[in-house]
């Protein structure tokens, strides 16, 4: 219901008014007054750089095993003089290096899933909202169904059936998330299509494709950017939950969720195995969420509760 209400005031193209500051300029202005968003931006930048160039930052080989280094505490130095700053896991691998390399899977899954679900969701939402009628009815029932199925339960079953691989994990996550975009975009388009600029375009003889692409799509972009950011954090958590349950990208590839699962058996003797990956995971998600809040307030202040 909240979603419907917030859609009653569509953005209009204010062509007659003099051009004010662009959305980008507004966002930057707002950013200066928001320390949490700056913090989020800094953390996420660090994580992205870490994921792009892990070999630069990783002090040791993330898959180098040696049972002589079995669950050594943080700061442990081996006979060769190598320092394990965050300790080692049950196979003697360096936890810090594994955290750094593990950022890759989290970001790849998160970003790809958000992009795929965004493309599907925007398309379906625009089509449902613009054409209405039986198309809309069918799509709405599909959305209702997808909402009703318990997501985590379906995700773990599907990944188990299809086999845990990077591609399958991304697909399973994306196949559920598109409905979030579809719902919101559908609502926006429902009100947008009653606007004069759309009616005018239709009267001027624009093709349907043209109206969808050049008149409706640009007007839902900022909303979808906000959803994408707010959902990126959730995608990252879901990926790590799958890895935690043993349904992630298979070993030896390090994943944060997989590292947490490794640490489960050593909670009483080697707490560092499950503590440090969790901290990095949490701060990554936190920084994405802080950015999402900021983008929402700047790009779409009316959308207070939208992506909840």
């Amino acid at each position: 219901m909240a979603v419907e209400q917030s859609q009653t005031m569509p953005r209009t193209t204010d062509e007659e008014e003099p051009r004010g500051p662009s959305e980008f300029q507004l966002a930057m202005h707002e950013l200066k007054r928001r320390p949490p968003a700056i913090l989020g931006l800094i953390i996420i930048t660090i994580v992205i750089i870490m994921a792009l160039f892990p070999w630069v930052f990783s002090p040791l080989d993330p898959v180098d095993q040696d049972l002589a280094r079995y669950t050594k505490p943080p700061g442990f130095t081996d006979t060769a003089g190598r320092v394990y700053h965050l300790g080692t896991d049950q196979q003697g691998r360096d936890i810090l290096s594994r955290i750094i390399w593990g950022s890759q899977i989290s970001l790849i899954v998160g970003i790809t899933a958000v992009l795929i679900s965004g493309v599907i969701g925007i398309t379906v939402g625009i089509v449902a909202g613009y054409f209405g009628g039986w198309v809309d009815t069918i799509i709405s029932r599909i959305i209702d169904t997808a909402l009703a199925v318990p997501f985590i339960l379906l995700a773990i079953s599907m990944v188990a059936i299809l086999g845990p691989s990077l591609r399958n994990i991304i697909l399973v996550i994306a196949l559920r998330t598109w409905i979030v975009y579809a719902r919101v975009v559908r609502g926006e388009v429902l009100s947008l299509k009653e606007n004069e600029f759309v009616i005018g375009a239709k009267a001027a003889g624009c093709s349907t494709i043209r109206i969808l692409f050049f008149y409706l799509f640009p007007n839902v972009i900022s909303t979808t950017i906000v959803i994408a950011t707010l959902y990126l954090g959730r995608m990252i958590i879901i990926e790590s939950a799958l890895s935690f349950l043993g349904l992630g990208v298979p070993p030896p590839t390090p994943t944060w969720g997989g590292m947490l699962a490794d640490g489960r058996s050593f909670l009483d003797t080697a707490w560092w195995i499950s503590l440090f990956p969790g901290i990095v995971l949490m701060f990554t998600v936190l920084s994405v969420n802080l950015l999402g809040d900021w983008l929402r307030d700047v790009l779409d202040p009316k959308m207070k509760r939208i992506a909840d």
Binding site: R141, V149, L153, I156, I161, L260, L267, G278, M282
Partner: protein, 337 residues
């Protein structure tokens, strides 16, 4: 009103039909369900034999009909007689598994590992999941409403900042990690609470806090923003100028009016928790549906998985239907268009 109720029920009915299609498709999606169900080391001939025995070689619509209405019913309908499974080269145990009454009658087949009806096993675990979900929501409400109200009342003070930072972290923390931290601190370090299982009432404390974390954070944020909105209203100003005590203004005038969206969110979170405590259950070995499913998946025991997905989705649809009908009944202003 009656038209609305009928249409809303019809909608739920359609959605439930679609859910059964999804549950049926789960095993079909790879194109070879027999290969998923058989142990990895089975030979091709074994897989083919099993496929024939289970009816996976038949056309999909017939398989779906058998899934819905049972093997015997469909055979009788199509062939005019009940086809007996040739048990010569198949042991009796397998023959039992093949013949189901169909999911319409609640029969999802036998659990391969436990050798009893899958739905029965899921239903046996369901009360524990319900108990966990309800306790989590109660804990979430007990924490989030005072936190949200205090946050709004003392806006921009340290109370507000602490609560806001806390709920921001709460929304960003993966709950299975929180579960591990709680075990490290309360079970291993302090030794106060058990790490897993369900043998006495206090076993629920850690899982419930873990599962309720996200709901707590979300409800706190909503209560705060709703309270801030309501506290600006004229009737609040009127109450204050009449000289009503401040705590009465906040509890009676503001909180009551701020509570409608909060109640909606609480209902929503409860629905999500009923189907979403899987990971928490896995962390704490809580004997609910989620734990059962995770265990079933590692044993390729898919009838259990299908029964669980169907049951939880059904519950979700049903709860939503009840909530919507209650709304229509409570608030006559809602238009049924």
């Amino acid at each position: 009103m009656r038209a609305y109720i009928i249409r809303r029920m019809l909608q739920s009915f359609i959605v439930f039909g679609a859910i059964l299609v999804i549950v049926f498709s789960m095993l079909q999606i790879t194109g070879n369900p027999a290969a998923i169900l058989m142990p990895l080391e089975s030979t091709e001939e074994e897989v083919a034999a099993f496929s024939k025995e289970m009816g996976f070689d038949q056309p999909l619509p017939i398989q779906f009909a058998k899934f819905l209405f049972g093997v015997d019913t469909v055979d009788y309908f199509l062939l005019g007689e009940i086809q007996n499974i040739k048990t010569a080269d198949v042991d009796i145990e397998n023959a039992e598994r093949v013949k189901t009454l169909g999911v319409i009658r609640g029969d999802f087949g036998f659990s391969y590992r436990h050798e009893i009806p899958a739905m029965g096993l899921v239903l046996e675990h369901f009360p524990n999941t319900v108990l966990l979900a309800f306790t989590s929501v109660v804990i979430a409400i007990l924490i989030s409403i005072p936190a949200g109200v205090l946050s709004a009342t003392f806006k921009n003070t340290w109370i507000d900042h602490t609560s806001s930072v806390g709920s921001m972290f709460g929304q960003s923390m993966p709950n299975f990690w929180l579960g591990l931290l709680l075990i490290i601190f309360f079970s291993v370090y302090l030794g106060w609470l058990p790490t897993s299982g369900f043998e006495a009432w206090y076993y629920i404390i850690l899982p419930a806090v873990t599962a309720g974390l996200y709901a707590t954070a979300r409800i706190t944020r909503l209560v705060r923003s709703q309270m801030l909105e309501v506290l600006e209203m004229d009737y609040v100003r009127t109450a204050r100028s009449k000289g009503v005590a401040e705590w009465l203004v906040i509890t009676r005038h503001a909180l009551k009016n701020a509570s409608i969206p909060v109640v909606t969110l609480v209902g929503l979170e409860l629905g999500i928790l009923l189907g979403g405590t899987v990971v928490t259950e896995a962390v704490f070995a809580w004997p609910g549906v989620g734990f059962l499913v995770v265990d079933a998946i590692s044993n390729q025991d898919y009838p259990i998985v299908q029964a669980a997905v169907a049951l939880l989705a059904f519950v979700f649809v049903f709860v939503n239907l009840i909530v919507d009908l209650l709304y229509a009944w409570l608030d006559p202003r809602i238009t049924y268009s």
